[in-house]
Amino acid sequence: MVRIGGRDDEMVTRLEGSEEELELAAWEALAGVHDPEIPPLSITDLGIVERVRLSDGAVDVDLLPTFAGCPALDVIREDVTAAIEAVLPGRTARVRFVYAPPWTSDRITPEGREALTRYGLTPPARGPSTPVIPLASLRRVEGAAACPFCGGLDTVLESAFGPTLCRSTHYCRACRNPFEAFKPKAAR
């Protein structure tokens, strides 16, 4: 029996199990890895874990980058490697970034969308994307991002760009707060 660190610092014990059980353990470990730019969001809820494959002595993890230039990718790679090797001692984690299928923001799970809102980031609009024209209109527009603070829809897009590649910046005219949203990423 080995005693190992599990998700959320909870100590768990695990016996050698079947391959299915070990794969489940790997997925659980991945659920404990969080996006360093959005700490409450796990990478499984972000929807970037495409595949986990166990083989003799190794665990291959395929990840889908959110935005190609995301500087958090290297940190995520290190965290995934550490998390996998902690729950599956004796196996080497091999993390690969792949681009097919492309990651889209529709891959964020309902739990992930809740985590974003709790963090003060509006979840991305779903489905095919529409053009984003900052400050194009001071009128209320269809599909405006909901304010994460008051829930109001009387908001304006100030810029499709923000402090990270995956965020846009907005202003809520109801509660008069500036806020950020997770940018939709989808095929047009």
Partner: protein, 292 residues
């Protein structure tokens, strides 16, 4: 690089080097744009473009034997295949906006064509790039619309920027080395002349809608000849590089004639490239093998 060079490398570098050099220029606005949202916009677009260059350098790695860092920063100036449009200094903000609009509308045309590439790894990467490029397109178009409708000073600066960049935007579609082979293998599903035709038709409509098509008329009356080069690996008397002229035929803007001389796609650059290259690669050359 492998010799004779795989024509696929020339295709990848035509896009990757454009993205890298364009990203480098955009990054020069960080902290200097007219307001903070535009600092963020140009900085974010730069970050995307440089990331796209890296994706393509990674795809090229088995063909070149060079890492993405070596490709981005470890080549001689004549080995870059970027187009002249991307190399020009930012100058006035009106020029930068005009160039960003023209570059990204042209980039969108070639990326869309490449989604159908027989080289599926390239097609997959292009689909990822497209989803990020849409924000660049929207940014360029929003400013194009705002400035063209705007107070006269802004409209004038936009028009000046478009006039200065339209000819070199046409030259983004300079034919690639061994293009016939790339097209025959459907790696490049449509020839560059075809892509130029599509882009010019669309951009002509947008310029007409904004009553800015005099930019194309002005370009049509020029010879299309580009500024002589002073960098790149080619030496001696070289034929001047010129892009096709443009004309309005049957209600549509079309290009007439072809390219002559060699430009960025053959490693022959504008006089602005060498200073950019020296700055961009300076750290890499000063500290060979450094990691950061």
């Amino acid at each position: 690089m492998t010799a004779p060079e795989d024509p696929r490398v020339g295709l990848l570098l035509s896009i990757a080097d454009d993205e890298l050099v364009m990203g480098h220029r955009h990054s020069e606005w960080t902290g200097w744009a007219p307001h903070i949202e535009e600092d963020l916009a140009f900085s974010s677009i730069a970050q995307d473009e440089i990331a796209h260059a890296r994706l393509l350098y990674e795809l090229a790695e088995p063909l070149t034997g060079r890492t993405p860092d070596e490709m981005a920063l470890g080549r001689g100036p004549g080995e870059y295949r970027s187009s002249w449009l991307c190399e020009r200094p930012n100058g006035d903000w009106g020029y930068s906006i005009a160039r960003q609009f023209l570059y990204d509308t042209a980039d969108a045309v070639r990326l869309e064509a490449l989604t159908a590439s027989s080289w599926t790894e390239l097609g997959d990467l292009v689909k990822v790039m497209q989803m990020e490029e849409r924000y660049h397109l929207d940014h360029g178009r929003a400013w194009f619309e705002r400035l063209s409708a705007g107070p006269v000073t802004g409209r004038q600066r936009l028009a000046d920027g478009l006039s200065a960049s339209i000819g070199e935007a046409v030259a983004l579609f300079e034919p690639l080395p061994d293009e016939e082979g790339l097209v025959a293998d459907r790696i490049l599903p449509r020839p560059t002349a075809d892509l130029l035709s599509e882009w010019l038709g669309a951009i002509g409509e947008e310029l007409e809608a904004a009553s800015l098509d005099f930019v194309l008329e002005r370009h049509a009356s020029s010879s299309g000849e580009m500024v002589p080069t002073s960098s790149g690996e080619m030496e001696g008397e070289e034929e001047a590089f010129s892009a096709p002229g443009v004309a309005r035929r049957d209600g549509r803007w079309v290009h007439e004639g072809g390219f002559s001389g060699a430009g960025g796609r053959f490693g022959r650059h504008s006089e602005d490239f060498l200073p950019l290259w020296e700055e961009m690669t300076g750290l890499f050359r000063a500290h060979p093998g450094a990691r950061w």
